[in-house]
Amino acid sequence: MDASTRFGPLTRTLKTNEKRKGLMPMKVARPGYLVVAAAASVLLIGPLAGQNASTGPTPRTEDGHPDLTGTWNGNYRLRLDQNDPNARYFGARNGSFANFERDSSLQRRADPNKPIYRPEFWEKVQQLDEGGSKADPSFGCMPAGLPRMGPPGEIVQTRDKIIFLYVSPEAQGWGDPWRIILMDGRPHTPLKELDGTWKGESIGHWEGDTLIVDTIGFNDESWLEIGGYFHTENMHVVERIKRDGDTLTWTATVEDPEVLVKPWTMNPRTVRLNEDPKVVLLEANPCSERDLSHLVTTEHH
């Protein structure tokens, strides 16, 4: 793969988006960019983590629950101006793009918090990971699915429904950029009556000030994360979302006893409210896969 074609356009896109304060670069059409964008976001976790201290009171709806409505992409106020203190995290070791790729690959797999698969699946996970360039559905223009799509970029809250909006590639994949969380107290549709989908059927309820979103009814095509973390159709995901002032903290716990030794709780992710009253999520370009035939290794970053 021509490294310059993968990295160059993203840089231009990011520069273009400097003017769109508060928005994640979204004018990306090829999954190759996803890799770079995802790696860049990983690199940013450290320096931005300290900026997530909440401020201000938590607004509430008429029925007394926290009001989650808002655009939650404050983490992605990226400006690649060389004077920006974050810009240094986009560099490559010794200025080499190959080093950027290799280091990002290592970095994304360094997290000790891993799902614990049953021993009979250890080799399968490794093989999927090692062949990730072709095996990872998200790398080939397919949706990320839940829980890999992470916290929503925007939330619209009503009494009976909460609507989650996502932006690709921030959500690490393509597909429908929305979810509807049913809040009317109905039970889940029996699993055998659900057609498995990438995002499943989500039923929400409040536990104190925390929104609990319980989801079943998946297909088995998505991954939980990079690294070959597959799952079955019987996966059950419980998300916990809590607003504290202008920050939103999201965690997800995955239960899939057919393949996991025990439930896996992903690392919490905190996003900040975008305070620009005029902000709107931009439309992502359709994903058109044009990279895979040019890959020379199976490495996936």
Binding site: L43, R88, Y89, G91, A92, R93, N99, R102, D103, S105, L106, Q107, R109, A110, D111, P112, K114, I116, Y117, R118, P119, E120, W122, V125, Q126, D129, E130, G227, G228, V261, K262, T297, T298, E299
Partner: protein, 251 residues
């Protein structure tokens, strides 16, 4: 020289000496980590967590050797098949033997608690070149650097529960770990390992230099002589879940 100036000069030199020593230690560790490819990203941080490697052994004769290791936990699974198969695991302070990898978690397989072996198995992690340098960095001001006959060495105590163990890491001319010696309060904590023929032979190129020849001795006797023929150092998926019966047996 003005006596006051002399006193000030001597005092300044005495105060500065520890700083110089600390800088030497940090630079020595940094250079050694860099030589092995441990320092990554523009910030040059150690982001090595897991490794997996395979080899064939001369000691024991005609053996097959397969190791997975997590430095973050820390944990290690050592799978050696020679005259018989022996799978030794240590993770989160627990030690056990497995009948197959993941034994005790799959019906028909077993995990046998080996509580008394926990410290010696944990030591094996810190005796690897990567584990040794991580431990040297973690020991902070307790790590000392010395140079004898042009050979640079780092000496430091290991973290609990191996706090009684002192480790000495010798670096070669390329600043790579060539020898690690441990000295503890029990015979099983005295180990000497030599490393040579560093290469990156992984299917996925990581630029991590791995010793392709490893020799371990106890009491001067070679207990392991292995030639590495395959590695996966791209922080591979390796896990070490503690079986229920092992957890019940305790640390």
């Amino acid at each position: 020289m003005n006596p006051k100036l002399l006193v000030c000069t001597v005092l300044a030199a005495a105060l500065a000496a520890p700083c110089v020593q600390a800088q030497d230690v940090q630079k020595t560790i940094h250079d050694a980590e860099d030589a092995l490819g441990m320092l990554r990203l523009p910030q040059r941080r150690d982001i090595i967590n897991t490794m997996e490697y395979w080899g064939t052994t001369a000691t024991p004769a005609n053996g097959k050797y397969h190791v997975t290791v997590s430095y973050a936990l820390p944990a290690m699974r050592s799978d050696l098949t020679a005259a018989s198969r022996k799978i030794e695991v240590v993770s989160e302070g627990y030690a056990w033997d497995e009948s197959v990898p993941g034994g005790g978690l799959v019906p028909g397989t077993t995990a046998t608690p080996m509580k008394a072996a926990a410290r010696a198995r944990l030591l094996e992690i810190y005796v690897t070149p990567f584990g040794a340098l991580k431990a040297a960095a973690a020991a902070g001001a307790n790590t000392k650097v010395s140079t004898e006959g042009g050979i640079t060495a780092l000496t430091f105590p290991l973290p609990a529960p191996l706090a009684s163990v002192t480790e000495k890491v010798t670096l070669d001319a390329k600043k790579m770990v060539s020898r690690v010696e441990s000295h503890g309060d029990t015979p099983d904590l005295n180990l000497e390992a030599t490393y040579s023929d560093y290469k990156d032979i992984g299917k996925i190129q990581t630029d991590i230099m791995f010793p392709n020849h490893i020799v371990e001795k106890r009491g001067g006797k070679t207990v392991l002589d292995v030639t590495i023929n395959k590695t996966n150092n791209n922080n591979p998926y390796v896990v070490f879940p503690v079986p229920d019966n092992v957890e019940k047996a305790g640390r």
